[in-house]
Symmetry: C2
Subunit: 266 residues, 2 copies
């Protein structure tokens, strides 16, 4: 019942890399989504070995992107190399928002496409697909100018499928009146499927407002079925940014992830 379940490391930031690896093994979770910062803290090669020895599959690396930064291309090349070293074929891209003081959202979006064009062949050479993640429109100005799945797909389709795909995260797209058509259209461009729930009120800054599956408003099972209907059989990553969840013992969180995944997603 948990064959496809993957724990995204951002769900349990209270844990170090060795702790989250061990936590996954103990909970019977075979997939893990990693983040660059904690991986860097433990060491890329050390993390790769630890995960491999534990028998875990790295389902994605978060994240590349933030293309409004001056050194973005160079930083994204490092991210691609890290993904390859960690043994995952998927680097998730959060595009970044507007440059400081800018209102040029069209320009920022074009810069995302141009940056991906520069990076995609390098990624493919490393066996890594870039996965464009649309973020909820409330993040448009400061984190991600890619705001809908259709928009992410319009970008991805400008590149070969092995180079660029899309990340489908229920939190960011559930509200979209076109979401089911967009998922169908995404088809085999879906690199990775992520789940968590939408809860209110949103906290200040809105970043840490995600909910455990079943606690909120999202039709998680319906979205999972729509993703599966495209032929996607890959991992289902649970990624929850939530300070209250981070304040709990990691083991409790993971047990609840396993339980609510089976109740609300499967």
């Amino acid at each position: 019942m948990t064959a496809r379940l993957s724990l995204n490391q951002a769900t349990t930031t209270q844990w170090t890399v060795p702790e989250v690896v061990s936590g996954c093994v103990q909970a019977g979770i075979s997939g893990i989504g990693l983040w660059r910062d904690p991986v860097a803290a433990h060491g890329v090669e050390e993390t790769a070995k630890l995960v491999r020895d534990a028998g875990l599959t790295v389902t994605s690396l978060c994240r590349g992107g933030f293309f409004q930064s001056p050194n973005a291309i160079e930083d994204n090349r490092r991210a691609i190399e890290e993904a390859a070293a960690l043994g995952t074929g998927i680097l998730i891209l959060v595009s970044g928002g507007l440059a400081e003081g800018s209102r040029d959202v069209d320009g920022a979006r074009q810069n995302v496409i141009d940056s991906i064009a520069e990076l995609a062949p390098y990624a493919a050479d490393h066996g890594v697909q870039l996965s464009i993640e649309p973020l909820h429109p409330m993040f448009c100005s400061d984190r991600c100018v890619v705001s809908t799945l259709d928009q992410a797909l319009d970008m991805a389709l400008q590149f070969p499928a092995e180079q660029v795909g899309v990340c489908v995260d229920t939190y960011h797209i559930w509200w979209d009146p076109n979401v089911y058509k967009a998922i169908e259209r995404a088809g085999d461009r879906i690199s990775i499927f992520q789940v968590c729930d939408w809860i209110t009120p949103l906290p200040e800054g809105v970043l840490l407002g995600r909910g455990m599956m079943g606690d909120g408003s999202i039709e998680l099972r319906r979205l999972r079925e729509a993703v599966d209907a495209t032929g996607y059989t890959g991992p289902i990553e649970v990624e929850i940014f939530n300070q209250q969840i981070w304040d709990q013992p990691g083991t409790d969180v993971v047990n609840r992830v396993v339980e609510t995944y089976q109740t609300h997603v499967l």
Copy 2:
């Protein structure tokens, strides 16, 4: 330079109805957008007379909608009657979110259409057009299941133009990759145009996070020009929900509205 400027009353909640009417007159603002609660506190007929005697035009009444409530139809009939009594031809509808405990967003959206179908002839009999306002997707679960201008338009187009239009508010739609196409498509269905800016970080609950024009990320002039290009020549309402703005003297706020409207919107 302020011929089209209208002050939405929600921008200056520190003011009573007589204060906001007097504040508009003193600032040379000829239009006012009213809200039902403060109007009720002052009296509908009394407000109508006060505004008329001051020579102000009521550019809209906020708001009908919230169709997930059990008594929504009856309450919206009262709102239509109030709009007519206040001398405005436009009642803005904020659709409401999901019913308590529900995840059925499709059902909630269908209920919006069904409710409008029930109300639209009654509104037309009163010389009032219902104006569907898409709210930013961050309000989808708790305030408004109408999340994009295209979606609002798809609903409005099911009814005669004199019965149902759409409200274009820069705050809610600026992020949409399709926003300019949607505005063009909206054409003569645009009932009313509202402006304010997008600023971050969003406060807890996100409702009171709107910015004064020029303080944020929105290309206000470009959006105003796109709305004008449809042939819209109506009022431009400034509507800013922001606790810090409400904590300032109303006169200072209105002076800044007049100034930033001319600098960033015209």
